[in-house]
């Protein structure tokens, strides 16, 4: 083996490329593909500094400098979308983390494998249906007339009148967060369960010898065991802070909760595709992308400091 490495190390870069031309041939079309579909679109950011008109083309359109950004930052609708984006993604972040960790902890305490598998299988299921289906289910469950939630609350005498859940802004934020919990908790719990299986069983035995009960074992063995996973996922999620869930919001929003449901993505959609203000919407989208990249870099720095594995 040593001899092979020795002779290979003497080859120049191009000789090696030639030797591995099959591998290069295999992957090269896809490198071009990725450049075309992921890097070339960045070029269109140029229209954020123009007043783009489709018939004049990108070069024919007039330069307007930072005018689009000035308009954007002076639009109260943009800041409303910003507020909603941050509030919604923060709510979703907190609830989904808490729910996934709690579910994983509970599943980990179950010794009956059949029961554990059954619950897990059920809990993943919503992850695999589309948000269209999930939204349809949410609307059905929350329906004022026939929805189960109102029926239960009314039969328990907690409320007298059915509540129009989808018609109130503050409820809407929680509907987004909790429907996200319903859909994704089982799936999100997988990674914690995997982390729990790699905890050394001797630690549990040692804890027993020290007189720890079940709850103390969770507190002193299981939780510290998954702490690195929790902190790494939290850090990674910082990069998603401006993603409040495009499809989910788009499907569940309605005119009554407009002021609470407009997020950056729907703002770009409404202005760009619906009103044909391409340049303005691109400026908004560009702002979002740049902030997201900065957040990812920041998160990555923090992760590196904490000695967790880095991403980029």
């Amino acid at each position: 083996m040593d001899a092979v490495y020795y002779t290979e190390s003497k080859k120049t870069f191009w000789q090696k490329v030639k030797e591995q031309k099959e591998l290069v041939l295999m992957i090269f079309p896809f490198v071009l593909y990725v450049i075309l579909f992921h890097y070339v679109p960045l070029w269109w950011w140029v229209i954020a500094f123009k007043e783009y008109r489709p018939f004049q083309g990108v070069w024919g359109s007039e330069w307007v400098g930072l005018q689009q950004f000035k308009d954007l930052f002076s639009d109260s609708g943009f800041w409303l979308a910003m507020r909603n984006t941050i509030v919604i993604s923060f709510l979703k972040l907190v609830t989904s983390f808490a729910a996934a960790i709690l579910l994983a902890l509970m599943l980990n305490e179950v010794k009956n494998m059949l029961f554990k598998r059954t619950i897990q299988t059920i809990s993943y299921l919503p992850h695999f249906v589309s948000w269209v289906v999930a939204a349809s289910i949410v609307i059905s469950v929350l329906s004022p007339e026939s929805g189960i939630l109102n029926q239960i609350l009314m039969s328990l005498k907690i409320i007298k009148q059915p509540i129009v859940w989808m018609g109130e802004g503050h409820y809407f934020w929680w509907i987004l967060a909790l429907s996200n919990v319903w859909k994704e908790t089982g799936w999100n719990a997988i990674v914690y369960l995997a982390a729990m299986t790699s905890i050394d069983p001797e630690l549990y035995d040692a804890a027993s010898v020290d007189g720890c009960g079940r709850l103390q074992k969770i507190r002193y063995v299981t939780l510290p065991g998954i702490a690195p996973t929790i902190s790494m996922l939290l850090i990674l999620n910082v990069g998603w802070l401006l993603n409040a869930g495009f499809e989910q919001v788009l499907l569940l929003r309605n005119p009554l909760v407009q002021d609470y449901s407009q997020i950056l993505d729907t703002y770009v959609l409404d202005y760009g595709i619906t009103m044909y203000r391409y340049s303005y919407a691109t400026a908004a989208g560009m702002f979002k992308s740049v902030v997201s990249i900065l957040l990812v870099l920041f998160a990555n720095k923090v992760a590196a400091k904490l000695n967790a594995s880095t991403v980029v």
């Binding site: 896809f30 679109p41 595709i273 979002k288």
Partner: protein, 299 residues
């Protein structure tokens, strides 16, 4: 070691089992409820009180769907994009994942960087729209397939899986004179099946569930509509009526048609979900293994 259960053990078990049964019910109930509504007489549903069993059985809600040529066509488009998209997706993912898994591949680092970086940024909706327009992808079937050929996350999963295989496999095949293409498809591919099954599920579900690309890029072409998009259209018309007492309004239109939007939505939801529920048990045993193996090694 034989130990008597303490009071704490019993309480913890009780709390855990009851909570998990609650989780199971809360997760599953909405599906069963929609299923029951889809099989229940539409006018009867408006009275409320349908839980997990239909009160007045009917297939009427499904007949509406099946007899609608648009929805029939949408189902065909959904199946076509899912099958074609998944097969091509797997092939493309293998072609990228295999070279990147080879530690001796000279271009591994730069190519990896180019590919993986795309996981962390996007140009945004409008630039993407303008790119597809200039590529002539708008209002074609291919807008479903071409942009979705490669998912970087899937590449990472498969690449990590291949890296966990012994490298001597590849070396001995090379000594026997096999080409890289042959090594990939005859040796690596069969051994990578758990990971392939995992990403096949992801890619397939992604295609089946996708509606946003239809909405943005193909909404002018009813013949290229998909099931999920048809469901979205029904949904949009329902959510516009929130707060305006929808069930009551629909009751009025139901007199003539014997169906309500709510009931059609329920049966449509079931049609849009059924294939996933049917495939899911077969692939489920792979994905946890394929995924955890892949992601742990990938870090």
């Amino acid at each position: 070691m034989f130990k008597k259960k303490t009071a704490e053990d019993i309480i913890v078990d009780l709390v855990v089992y009851i909570s998990l049964i609650f989780v199971g019910i809360v997760t599953l109930y909405p599906f069963l409820n929609v299923l029951a509504i889809s099989f229940n007489d539409a006018l009867d549903t408006v009275r409320g009180g349908i839980y997990i069993w239909p009160r007045k059985w009917t297939l009427k809600n499904y007949e509406i769907i099946v007899s609608n040529p648009q929805i029939y066509n949408a189902a065909l488009v959904s199946v076509a994009r899912t099958v074609l998209g998944t097969v091509l997706g797997i092939i493309c993912t293998m072609f990228v994942a295999y070279p990147l898994s080879r530690k001796d591949f000279v271009l591994r680092r730069p190519f990896s960087a180019i590919m993986v970086l795309t996981m962390y940024f996007g140009a945004g909706l409008i630039p993407t729209y303008l790119l597809y327009r200039s590529l002539g992808l708008l209002n074609t079937f291919w807008v479903y397939i071409v942009p979705a050929l490669l998912g970087m996350f899937n590449v990472v999963v498969v690449r990590s899986y291949i890296e966990s295989l012994p490298s001597s496999l590849i070396e001995s095949a090379k000594i026997d004179g096999a080409s890289e293409f042959r090594i990939l498809w005859q040796i690596i591919f069969p051994l990578t099946l758990p990971a392939v099954a995992t990403i096949a599920l992801f890619i397939g579900v992604g295609h089946w569930n996708s509606w946003f690309d239809v909405y943005i890029f193909n909404s002018q072409r009813p013949d290229l509509s998909t099931l999920q998009y048809e469901l979205q259209k029904i949904l949009a018309s329902v959510s516009m009526q929130v707060g305006r007492n929808p069930d009551y309004q629909m009751g009025a239109m139901a007199e003539t048609q014997q169906v309500t939007p709510n009931s059609v939505r329920a049966s449509m939801t079931i049609v849009a979900t059924a294939p996933i529920i049917m495939v899911y048990p077969f692939l489920q045993r792979y994905f946890v293994k394929g995924l955890t193996l892949g992601s742990v090694k990938g870090e």
